[in-house]
């Protein structure tokens, strides 16, 4: 094959198989850490306006899936589209809530400071956030029930309150599709129900939310759709159809010996 034909073929692959209406369309994505594959051949199209739970055992690649979609970790192969476009062109359409432990809460900042950061993406470089940004941040803090804590140093907040600050920060991003990495981890009951209410409000406003989730019991109650993940997609679709004993067994039970062995072999010889 001549080089021009190769690039033509690539171009074609690039164009096919992406659902331009979908908030998140992943085509044949493989992700590797230090050459060791952690996600294999992911194909997925998220439905518009739904709450999607991403579920799977530890080390299944749930966080990696999100990070690979947001260009935070490199993809070994495959492509991702947000409403038909590359992530780089769709930043303003996407909101991200990283794991709470991923940041240093001793950082000298108030809750309001942190929430205002959600607006930084839409402010040009070198321009400080303005009054409207702070007002939006205050509004979001009120929405998450954290209005009284706007000026509190973030290390003085409880775990649940810190998580709400993160959610408020996502709200001011005013995105069309949200990626949340374990927002329910280590939060109190009041925060958990506040988050659920918020997720439902987002859905009512036509937003799509993908949530990495650990507590299997609450999956049917919280999520319209579920994506069962263990290095590859075990099953994905409406919770009522997909969240079955059999699929869970496949996700959490029997280890995929062959897949892990292959990954180890690639890591060793790569």
């Amino acid at each position: 094959m001549t080089p021009s034909k190769t690039s033509q073929a690539r171009l074609q692959i690039d164009q096919v198989h992406h659902d331009n209406e979908s908030p998140l369309s992943i085509h044949d994505m493989t992700v590797a850490y230090h050459r060791k594959p952690v996600l294999w051949d992911i194909d997925y199209a998220a439905p518009q306006g739904k709450l999607v739970g991403i579920v799977g055992p530890n080390g299944a690649g749930k966080s990696t899936l999100i990070k690979a979609c947001l260009d935070l970790v490199p993809r070994a192969s495959g492509s991702v589209r947000i409403y038909g476009k590359r992530y780089k062109e769709q930043r303003s359409a996407v909101g991200y809530v990283p794991q709470r432990e991923s940041v240093d809460w001793d950082f000298p900042a108030s809750a309001l400071d942190v929430v205002t950061m959600g607006r930084y993406g839409r402010i040009p470089w070198c321009i400080p956030p303005g009054k409207s940004d702070r007002e939006a941040a205050l509004h979001a803090l009120n929405q998450t029930g954290m209005g009284d804590y706007a000026n509190r140093q973030i290390s003085k907040l409880s775990g649940g309150q810190q998580q709400r600050v993160f959610l408020a920060r996502a709200l001011v991003q005013d995105a069309r599709v949200y990626f949340m990495d374990e927002p329910f981890a280590g939060v109190d009951a009041a925060t958990e129900s506040a988050i659920v209410t918020l997720l439902r409000e987002l859905r009512e406003r036509g937003r799509t939310v993908l949530v990495v989730h650990h507590d299997l019991q609450s999956v049917p109650e919280y999520f319209d759709e579920v994506l069962l993940l263990n290095m590859r997609i075990v099953a994905a679709g409406p919770t009522s159809a997909v969240f079955t004993e059999e699929n869970l067994q496949k996700t959490y039970g029997g280890r995929l010996t062959l897949l892990s062995e292959a990954a180890e072999a690639i890591a060793r010889n790569g």
Binding site: L72, V94, F107, A109, D113, Y120, W125, C126
Partner: protein
């Protein structure tokens, strides 16, 4: 040289203060990003960059110096990342590998360069603050002061313009990258600024002590403030103060401590010592995070616990003997006597929670009774809660409740009441007061 002479000491302090202030700005972000050692690494590693620039240009021109520093600064940052990733070592070890080798290379090269350029290798390592005024005998501004002044201006501009970008990248680099503020790019920008600042500060403080200017004032400022903006301003203020105090003590210091006052002390070293002194003082007396403040808070808590223990004892005493009083000495003995117990008793009296009967007898006042009732209620409700949820034998309940009762806030107390409902009695069969 112990008298202050403006045309000499003025320039020395200006150079020292500008250098320290310039370092404090990027230094604050190094400290907040927990990569202080990177400042040390870069300040050492830029040495070969300087030497090569000298060797190539045969001059001590400012521009080649900065270009050399920037290139090596970036190489250090890249080298550290590459070695961390592929060398299977943590970043501290990777930095150690990169900067010690670069520094050694720099030492070799700077000797070579010294033969070509009018340069004293020692000046690069230790700075040459006291010689700076010699360049201004004709009344002009010494070049070294201009260099650090420019570095300070550059850093003020850098932090001023990119404040929001530096802030988000320091707090949450992942979010920064997803919203289009590339944290990696900002990381390298910061490293370049650190490299330029350290090079500009060489003549003033030398490459070895520059780390003190980068890290210590921001670390002290961090203890005093909970906001990024004030932390930066305080760091710069502490840096400037250290420079002034450093030079003053270098002038007068030998006399103060009874040394031969004709021997001068190196000002750069005294500036570094002063940053250390200010840091130590801050660590001791900072209102929120200082050791004394925290110790005082703990003392207050200890006192409160003894006070509440006394109230509890008094309550339980009067539960059975409502008409009798308790002897002061018995009460003190019950909480283990000691100075803390006496303080607690005095403080209860001042708060009018207790009343003396006769000379030595003590009983609860009305307000004391209210406080004691709340304590005992929380204590017994907690015992009830533990008995319900933990399935513990009866003799396991009192101790934990005794510890917890001091920390039950109004909110928690309300929750406890809701959770336990109208229990009436604790697991031991004692009445839970309303």
């Amino acid at each position: 040289m112990t008298e202050w002479i403006w045309s000499i000491d003025g320039w020395i302090v200006a150079a020292g203060a500008f250098a320290a202030m310039a370092c404090a700005l990027p230094g604050t972000f190094l400290v907040l990003r927990k990569m202080s050692l990177m400042g040390d690494a870069i300040s050492h590693a830029v040495l070969p960059g300087l030497a090569i620039a000298f060797l190539i240009t045969h001059s001590r021109g400012v521009l080649p110096m900065f270009v050399g520093a920037v290139i090596v600064g970036v190489l250090t940052a890249v080298g550290t990342q590459v070695i961390t990733r592929y060398g299977k070592v943590e970043s501290g070890a990777a930095m150690g590998v990169v900067f010690s080798i670069f520094f050694a290379l720099g030492l070799v090269l700077i000797r070579q360069a010294a033969d070509h350029v009018d340069l004293d290798p020692g000046c690069v390592l230790y700075g040459n603050l006291s010689q700076i005024p010699l360049d201004s005998l004709d009344g002009s501004i010494p070049p070294a002061v201009i260099n650090v002044g420019l570095a300070l201006l550059l850093n003020i501009t850098f932090v001023g313009l990119l404040y929001k970008e530096l802030k988000i990248c320091a707090f949450d680099p992942q979010l920064a990258t997803t919203v289009g503020i590339n944290a990696n790019v900002m990381h390298y920008l910061l490293m370049i600024v650190v490299a330029i600042t350290t090079v500009a500060s060489f003549e003033a403080v030398g490459s070895i002590l520059v780390i003190a200017m980068l890290i210590v004032p921001p670390a002290a400022a961090r203890l005093l403030s909970d906001r990024l903006g004030t932390t930066l301003i305080l760091a710069v203020t502490i840096a400037a103060t250290s420079a002034v105090l450093g030079h003053l003590s270098a002038l007068r210091g030998p006399k103060w401590i009874g040394l031969d006052s004709s021997v001068s002390i190196e000002t750069a070293a005294m500036i570094a010592v002063m940053t250390g002194v200010i840091f130590t003082l801050t660590l001791l007396v900072a209102p929120k995070y200082g050791l004394i403040g925290r110790w005082y808070q703990r003392l207050g808590l200890a006192l409160q616990i003894v006070r509440e223990d006394m109230l509890g004892i008094l309550y339980r005493w009067f539960e059975h003997r409502p008409d009798e009083h308790i002897l002061k000495d018995d009460l003190l003995k019950a909480v283990g006597r000691g100075i803390l117990a006496r303080f607690a008793l005095g403080s209860l009296k001042r708060r009018q929670a207790i009343e003396y009967v006769g000379g030595e007898g003590i009983r609860l006042s009305d307000s004391g009774k209210d406080a004691a009732t709340k304590l005992v209620r929380d204590h017994r409700l907690w015992e009830g809660y533990m008995a319900t949820h933990f399935d513990l034998p009866l003799d396991h309940l009192h101790e934990p409740a005794e510890r917890v009762e001091h920390y039950i806030s109004e909110d928690l107390s309300e929750l406890l009441k809701q959770e336990m409902g109208d229990l009436g009695e604790d697991p031991h069969g004692r009445k839970i007061p309303e």
